[in-house]
Amino acid sequence: MRILAVDDDEMILELLSASLGAAGFADLTVAGSAAQALEQIAATRIPFDCFLLDIQMPEVDGIDLCRAIRRNPVYAAAPIVMITAMSQKSYIDRAFSAGATDYVTKPFDPVELGARIRLASKMVESERALTENRSAVATLRAQLERERFVDLNEPISIPDVDAVIDLQALENYLLQLSRSGLFATSIFAFKVVGIETIYASTSPIDFRYLLTDVAEAVSTALRSHERFVAYAGNGVYVCVAHGRGALDLEVIEGTANLIVEEMALTNSRGVPLKFRLRVGSPVRVGLVRAGRGAVDALYVAIESAEQDAPKAEDGRSGEHWSQFRLA
């Protein structure tokens, strides 16, 4: 795996080289600034697989560099790990909003760093395997359909929607927040009622468009809160929201459903699609749960949404597919 590490401190770069080398990741390129990093990225013939970025650097910081890397379509899904001494929550939030997928604070434990990079490496290998399995003989549409295929239960990536990140990134975010950072944090999940029916009668591309539109509705309904949203599969969107006042989930659920209604989603024959989003019971974290406990709360919230949401009133699949807006 090709890794690019960026830090203005030469010693940190040497530490990274020693730690990663010991963990079996010898293909490491280093850069001493964001500008140098962007030059390396532009010049390389073989794309990098993973990035390690320091946050506090002169001129252009690591968060802006992360954003710049994400703008390059080649690196839209590449793992980006922030390695920094800035442990304050605001920096963590900004990093994940900019597209970081993991976060390690200095001083870093070389063994833990190796474990994080191995996790990133698995993401890279999984993506590569999917790419290599595509048939070269298929028609362009069949190829597109195959590339876009998604299992109902798969927590797929939903790019380009504000505050929506991958489920794995959300787990990493919760793991990094300290107990104080989790104070006044709620975790809850939305469920698309009748998702199984929609999935059964929808093309893969249209199903992805639906998931993107619903993600947008959920994120917009929560826009007055500090939040992150992730798609967990099976029509469930899990949300982490911060705020001292109690979240009014009834209002938020209603708002999300209004937004879906305003989107006026239809099937390809123009028949309006009617479905509802249902919110499960929230889980408060911080004082009671932190670290791995906060991640467990994520899955409690997901299960709550699955259990609380009623089945679709109409079990028929014929009329419940839609033509969705292009992302």
Partner: protein, 113 residues
């Protein structure tokens, strides 16, 4: 192999630490002597930068206490510059810098510098 590389890095770090300590001592003395606002801000930013660089490396190389003390300096300076509530005074910044400098001196003395 990592142990030998870390060992070499420790030696380099001690050299850097000596220079960094001298720099921070000079800045600290200037702050205590009293400076116009603009120069005071510049001096605390420089101390903060030195502390930040130390935090990043110290604990990983086995100097956990220095890492902790440097982090306190960094946080205090950040609060001072942000005018946070409750207010962090320049006296608090100097006091925490002294703690960090004390630890640096101890490390260097033990290493024979």
């Amino acid at each position: 192999m990592i142990a030998s590389r870390l060992s070499a890095l420790r030696i380099r770090f001690l050299d850097v630490l000596e220079a960094r300590m001298a720099e921070c001592e000079a800045l600290r003395d200037r702050l205590e002597a009293g400076l116009p606002e603009a120069e005071r801000v510049e001096a605390v930013r420089a101390i903060c930068f030195a502390a930040h660089k130390t935090v990043g490396v110290a604990a990983t190389l086995g100097f956990a206490d220095l890492g902790m003390l440097s982090q306190r300096v960094e946080l205090a300076v950040t609060d001072f510059l942000d005018r946070s509530e409750p207010p962090t005074t320049i006296r608090m910044v100097i006091s925490l810098t002294d703690d960090m400098l004390g630890e640096m001196a101890l490390i260097l003395a033990e290493a024979g510098h």
